[in-house]
Amino acid sequence: MTNKGTSFYERLEARGVSRRDFLKFCGATATMLGLSSSAAPMIGAKIAGAAEDGGLYPALWLHGGACTGCTESIAQATYPNVADIVLDFLNLVGQETIQMSAGVQTLEGNEMFAEEHAGKYILIIEGTVITGLDGNMLRVGGHPFIEELEHFAERAAVVIALGSCAVDGGWVVAYPNPAKGTGVSAFLKSKGVATPVVNLPGCPMNPEELTSVVVEALLLTDRDADGVPNLGPIVARLDSLGRPKWLYGSTIHDNCPRRGHFENGEFVYEFGSEEEALGYCLYPVGCKGPQTYRRCPMIRWNNSVSWCVDSGGPCIGCANWNWVDQNAPFRGRFRRVGAGVLGRGGIDPAVGAAAIGGIAGAALLAHGFGMKAAHRIGKNATLKTEECKEYDAKHAKKGGAV
């Protein structure tokens, strides 16, 4: 398998992407990475260079206990289809939802691929690692999926845990976790597999997040003569939870376009209300934006046409660890913050001390105190609309920036 013989731009054009589209895409990616958009040509050169070496990562994509939502999400990447193209330049061989082959041919194809690219390929995992009944609660090709996962992870250069389910088990691990789900990094650690794991939590994952990791890998990764990547620099840019720092460094609330209404004490107390039509803050109907680290307000969804809060849906914190246990009830105005919640949260021991639960909890505590200091909420505040409304109306004027 070689890409030699045609230039990167010729191949892009063969796939219907102009050089201009490609540079626009690189500019957007630069912004995403927190670089100046003047870095676009550098990113472009780096991708083109890697492609012309025949050096883009070979990738294998496997489905654990998944709803296929992350694949669906990728299928919505349409900025002008270039994200697809870059993913395509991953030389993506196995992808059960779209691949041509089936059955034995799929299994054999994956095996041949892993042998050919041992030590060099990206393994992308979508879905929960199901360990119930010794892994037999998810079988693929007649064997427990966990065997397949371990087998292909051992020989991968890096594993990308795509979406909350792969990161920590997602909703599947919510109490009582009947399928005994877990995340990829916790599972691999338990098996002594040392391959680094990049975590991209969110339910589903946003295609821009995966794209930015791929580009980041290209920017920061050198390869030896055999094509084995040196992943040190990219691992250094992960936080203690294995997440890319540039994607999970601020909360939804930090960047929310409705934040001004929060500051003004202008809230939505009921769905479908006049306040919603005015685009007020969704905090009273359960928005988990203040405790959720993700860049949704900037990246948005489905070619940027909208995002949850923009449509009137409060954030449910789907990028948090064990997000269902941590955030439900989703319409609840305040959630319990304490060791109990954090302790039950299935926090991944593989990724160090400062667990997300801790960060989010601390942030919300600070936030809650701020709210209290601003007299927006009382100690015994409830979900009852009228009471909240009355309270906020009475105290709004005293409120300032939290």
Binding site: A14, G69, T97, S311
Partner: protein
């Protein structure tokens, strides 16, 4: 001589499916469908707030989360006695329409088409002949030359990416005849090229339909707004404009490309009218609510057909639904009505746990009136075709398609090709219907009749949401006590269609549809894959 066929994983579907079959004299004589994944959503929901099920149950399926969300909210509304306002009804109809457009386009072109269209053969197409053929077929003219170059570049690069190791043979370019055996050798290369070109366009069109859902629900998959009580999204003119523009774009493409493509390709696969029919019993809970929110007056009405009793529709009696588990990996009682269903997985696994004579799947076996029933577009279209009160457009488009294929007996639709055609034809009806609902909503906004959320203050009750996902009848059942879920149960379309044998040993619809399916090459069982994928699992 009997041979065993195993297809695992069945790819290009949502989820994890295994198919096993016995092949004798070139035909399948017995078959088993295995759902190989258990996650336990119903158990996770116990004790939580009923409103939270809307968010969690969408994660059952990343392709049809909207339908799960709707069925969940409807179940809670039914338990709490909430009647959603007219504005919410219209918003949900538009939302659900968009999901069907998205799902059907994705299914036909991205998931199923590669079993009928061979990209390797497209390389030998003559471009001007392709344009002539497209004109004659009345389908979209694409830049066929560019598409052909694109496929060539892909093949020559050696990077076959997701097309690697397919059933085209070892080297589809040097030895196209190997792949031809799997497809119809008489189908011209030009038609294969048209199919590939529109496969690429379909990627954009399914995304465009999904953007409509994102406008109404924040994102797709896993939207945020169709909560119990109505919808959190408040219609505004800017977004409605955007929605209408996108839906019209998709509708024009369905009319001008998808329908003519299928009518052009279908004549090469009429052999598929002879098998793949299944159990001959069809169930629909009805799709798209009318003002009275009654399942019998929906655009696609609810109904049940048992072809053995003639082509007539019976009213659905939801008390006749039961779930059997003798052949599934559960220890909970068999034959319960899902309102009081139980889901207790087996507690240990050994070498004999997977046993085709015993338990062999995680799917329960739902039965209607003690019999298996097929669900999905074929059921919806047949019920609509035979229901006197339904939109005449349903009967019209089926009769038109039968005429195009030169057949006059609607029972021939009970086949592999009929199931494929029903899904595609339904796409056009839904596209037209989406526009009608948007226009109705715009009028309601103008007159101030577009309230989207009903307040409620309830804490107890039993309820069910009967609805349709793109792939068939879907029901959520909830029992609530003191504002907490006491029991939650979901019966998905895939458990109907991919169901195992029931306690009487009667095969499920896919298993039955596989029986009689011709298998020429047991190593490349493309017919079995076509039949499995025709259910859109």
């Amino acid at each position: 001589m009997a041979e065993n066929l195993v297809l695992d994983p069945v790819t290009r579907i949502e989820g994890h499916l295994r198919v096993e079959a016995v092949v004798e004299n070139g035909k399948i004589t017995d078959a088993w469908a295995t759902g190989t994944l258990y996650r336990g959503v119903e158990t996770v929901l116990q004790g939580r707030r009923p409103e939270d099920a809307f968010y969690v149950t969408q994660r059952i399926c990343g392709v049809c989360p909207t339908s799960h969300g709707h069925a969940s909210s409807m179940a809670v509304e039914s338990a709490y006695g909430i009647k959603i306002p007219n504005g919410a009804r219209l918003v949900r109809n538009i939302y659900e329409c968009a999901e069907n457009l998205h799902s059907h386009i994705l299914w036909f072109y991205i998931l199923a088409a590669l079993d009928y269209v061979n990209p390797a053969k497209a390389l030998t197409a003559n471009i001007s002949d392709t344009i002539d053929l497209a004109k004659a077929a009345g389908t979209g003219i694409s830049d066929f030359a560019a598409v052909q170059e694109r496929v060539l570049a892909l093949v020559q690069s050696g990077d076959m990416s997701v097309f690697s190791n397919g059933w085209w043979g070892i080297d589809p370019v040097a030895h196209p005849e190997e792949a031809d055996e799997l497809y119809n050798p008489d189908m011209p290369a030009e038609l294969h090229l048209i199919g590939v070109a529109h496969y690429l366009e379909a990627l954009e069109m399914q995304a465009e339909a999904a953007r409509v859902m994102a406008l109404l629900g924040g994102k797709f998959p896993h939207g945020m707004t169709s909560v119990a009580g109505g919808t959190a999204w408040v219609p505004d003119s800017t977004k409605l404009d955007d929605v209408l523009y996108r839906v019209k774009r998709v509708a024009a493409w369905v009319d001008g490309t998808m329908i003519p493509d299928v009518l052009a390709i279908a004549p090469f696969y009429t052999a598929a009218l002879e098998f793949g029919g299944g159990c001959g019993k069809f169930l629909s809970f009805g799709l798209f609510n009318d003002a009275d929110l009654d399942m019998n007056s929906r655009y696609f009405p609810a109904g049940y057909i048992d072809v053995d009793n003639g082509l007539k529709v019976d009213t659905v009696d939801t008390s006749k639904i039961k779930e059997y588990v003798k052949h599934a990996w559960y220890t909970s009682p068999s034959g319960l009505h899902p309102q009081h269903g139980e889901t207790q997985a087996i507690s240990s696994w050994n070498d004999s746990t997977f046993d085709l004579d015993g338990q062999y799947t995680w799917a329960k076996a739902p039965r209607y009136d003690e019999k298996p029933a097929e669900v999905g577009p074929l059921s919806r279209m047949l019920v609509g075709y035979l229901s006197a009160g339904a939109d005449p457009a349903i009967k019209g488009i089926i009769d038109f398609a039968l005429g195009e294929l030169g057949v006059d007996d609607p029972t021939l639709l009970v086949s592999l090709l009929g199931r494929v055609a029903a899904r595609v034809l339904e796409t056009k009806l839904i596209a037209d219907q989406t526009i009608a609902y948007i226009v109705e909503l715009v009028e309601a906004v103008k007159t101030g009749e577009a309230k989207t959320f009903a307040e409620y203050d309830s804490h107890d009750g039993e309820g069910a949401g009967f609805w349709e996902a793109p792939r068939g009848a879907l029901a959520h059942f909830v029992n609530v006590k003191n504002g907490r879920i006491e029991n939650y149960n979901v019966v998905t379309p895939s458990t109907w269609d991919m169901s195992p044998r029931d306690d009487n040993g009667v095969r499920g619809p896919l298993e039955e549809a596989l029986v009689g399916t011709p298998i020429d090459d047991i190593e490349r069982p493309i017919m079995a894959a076509r039949v499995a994928r025709s259910f859109d699992p």
